[in-house]
Amino acid sequence: MTATTTAPRAATPVRTTEDRPHARLRAWATRAPLLPALVFMITVTQLPFVATLVISFFDWNSLYPDARSFAGLANYGEVLTDPDLRRSVWTTVLLTVAVVLASLVLGLLLALLLDRRFRGRGLVRTLLIAPFLVVPVAAALLWKHVLYNPEYGLFNGLLHYVGGPQPDWISETPLLAVEASLVWQWTPFMMLILLAGLQSRDHQQIEAARVDGASDWQIFRHLTLPHLRRYLELGALLGSIYIVQNFDAVFTITSGGLGTANLPYTVYQTFYQAHENGLASAAGVLVVIGSIIIATFALRVVSSLFREEAGRS
């Protein structure tokens, strides 16, 4: 059974190459413009990951290069049982979920406001995008020193006017402090994606519903929200992919202290400061596995939007 089905398939390409060398040449000519980019990408992104995978099976501290030995899955066991690393997994999840959800909700509210016509809409849009266009390290420094500083930061300055308390934001709520700065930067991103979604709605359908006496809430609940679903998914998934990898804010605001070290920071610290190459690689591989889970869903959403766009044009 297998032999009969595979035989003709194997024979086909052979025949085509003998019969039509031109066709094969032309296929390569079509592929040629693609090859430099493809080869470059495979070399720079896939090879290092394979190396990471290999290193993750070794007990290797770069301070003791002679003591390198094969360790099997020991590094993975250590990563999964080490309380610090386990906490950093949890921190990564908390940070990502909180930031993505908060910026998605805020972004949706802002997109709904900006979807209406009002005086100065272009300017408001520009003001709202600005936080996303501050260099991430600069934004983190701004929050750390200029807003959060307990003695002369803007937050406590404004609280002073109303006679409020003077909290030490970063030491009292370290993770929340990091999250707030990231929500400020990522809300514009969500808003832009959702605004694009709102503007691609079928306006005739909405008019028809309004003529039939549907309320604003009914239109939002039954027409807008279902249409936005895929844009919300896309925002959530792309946001997750970027925020899971966040290094800048954690590094700048708390330097990974006070229980805010996420996985990228921990991996950085494990090999850059502790020189534990094998352990860092195992943690890196785990980050990749987590990302692949998110990415599988992300790719599915992107491809469904992609096919819809292709079908429309």
Binding site: L109, A130, V146, Y268, S291
Partner: protein, 274 residues
């Protein structure tokens, strides 16, 4: 009542816009205050303006000059953007105008590399750079930033090139023009606005990057974000200087971002949203 109902969303939007912009406005104002006026509680809104913060940042009166870092960032961002365009443009052609077989699979391969976390390849890249003597070399960053931005550029350009009418290209080919000529003389001018937006977005991502730069550069090839990390620990009264530094280093990104505003979503969503 009706007027309020009509005006309320606009007013709310203005309020939200101002709240979101406030930290940046405050950063800009503080950068023009003297250090003692910058660090007061309650804040001094109407303090005298001065350029001392900027003078401090640029190291006019001694201290580390940010110029080498700014120049390194400029070189890394511009060179990698150029390399990205050179690689992505022909690739996008082979994925849209004369698509190879299974072109969607290739497109999604590019996208999937973007989802591979940076930390996954960081260590081998570091070890390779150390053995090859490439640590603290700006050109290593150029190569890495190119790989970071290439998927975004391929996706964006693919969607822009798909809009170029095939008839125009066929006409040029009938006149005997070869592929490089067709790309440079016919396709590029039509897709120019899209290519420009792609370039601006790649520039932004390269300019912002910290993790690679932090691990792989030292004194010589330090970039602007790495220079900024020097401000992480407080150094007495230095708020005006921090604000000046953050603002100056963010200016190229703010400018590029506002210039590419309309195409920003498309780039950030990797071409999924138009």
């Amino acid at each position: 009542m009706n007027v309020l109902r009509r005006k309320a969303p606009g007013l709310l939007a203005w309020f939200a816009g101002i709240v979101f912009f406030l930290p940046i406005a405050w950063m800009a104002l503080t950068s023009f205050h003297s250090e003692s006026d910058a660090a007061t509680n309650p804040p001094s809104f109407a303090a005298a303006l001065t350029l001392d913060g900027y003078r401090e940042f640029f190291g006019v009166d001694g201290g580390a000059s940010p110029w080498p870092a700014l120049i390194n960032s400029t070189v890394a961002s511009l060179a990698s953007t150029l390399l990205v365009l050179l690689l992505a443009f022909p690739a996008a052609y082979a994925l849209s105008i004369r698509p190879v077989r299974k072109w969607t699979d290739v497109l999604f391969f590019f996208l999937s590399t973007k989802m591979l976390p940076v930390v996954a390849g960081l260590l081998p890249i570091y070890l390779f750079a150390k053995n090859a003597g490439l640590l603290d070399n700006i050109w290593l960053l150029v190569v890495l930033y190119t790989s970071m931005n290439l998927p975004i550029a391929v996706w964006m350009m693919q969607s822009f090139l798909a809009e170029v009418p095939v008839a125009v290209i066929e006409a040029a080919q009938l006149d005997g023009a070869r592929l490089p000529t067709v790309l440079a003389r016919v396709v590029a001018p039509i897709a120019a606005p899209g290519i420009a937006a792609t370039a601006l977005i790649c520039f932004i991502f390269s300019w912002n990057e910290l993790l690679f730069a932090r691990v792989l550069t030292g004194v010589v090839a330090e970039t602007a974000p790495v220079f900024l990390t020097g401000f992480i620990t407080s150094q007495g009264l230095f708020l005006a200087k921090v604000c000046a530094a953050s603002l100056v280093i963010s200016l190229p990104v703010l400018a590029a971002g506002f210039a590419a505003q309309d195409k920003l979503v498309q780039g950030l969503s990797l071409g999924a949203v138009k």
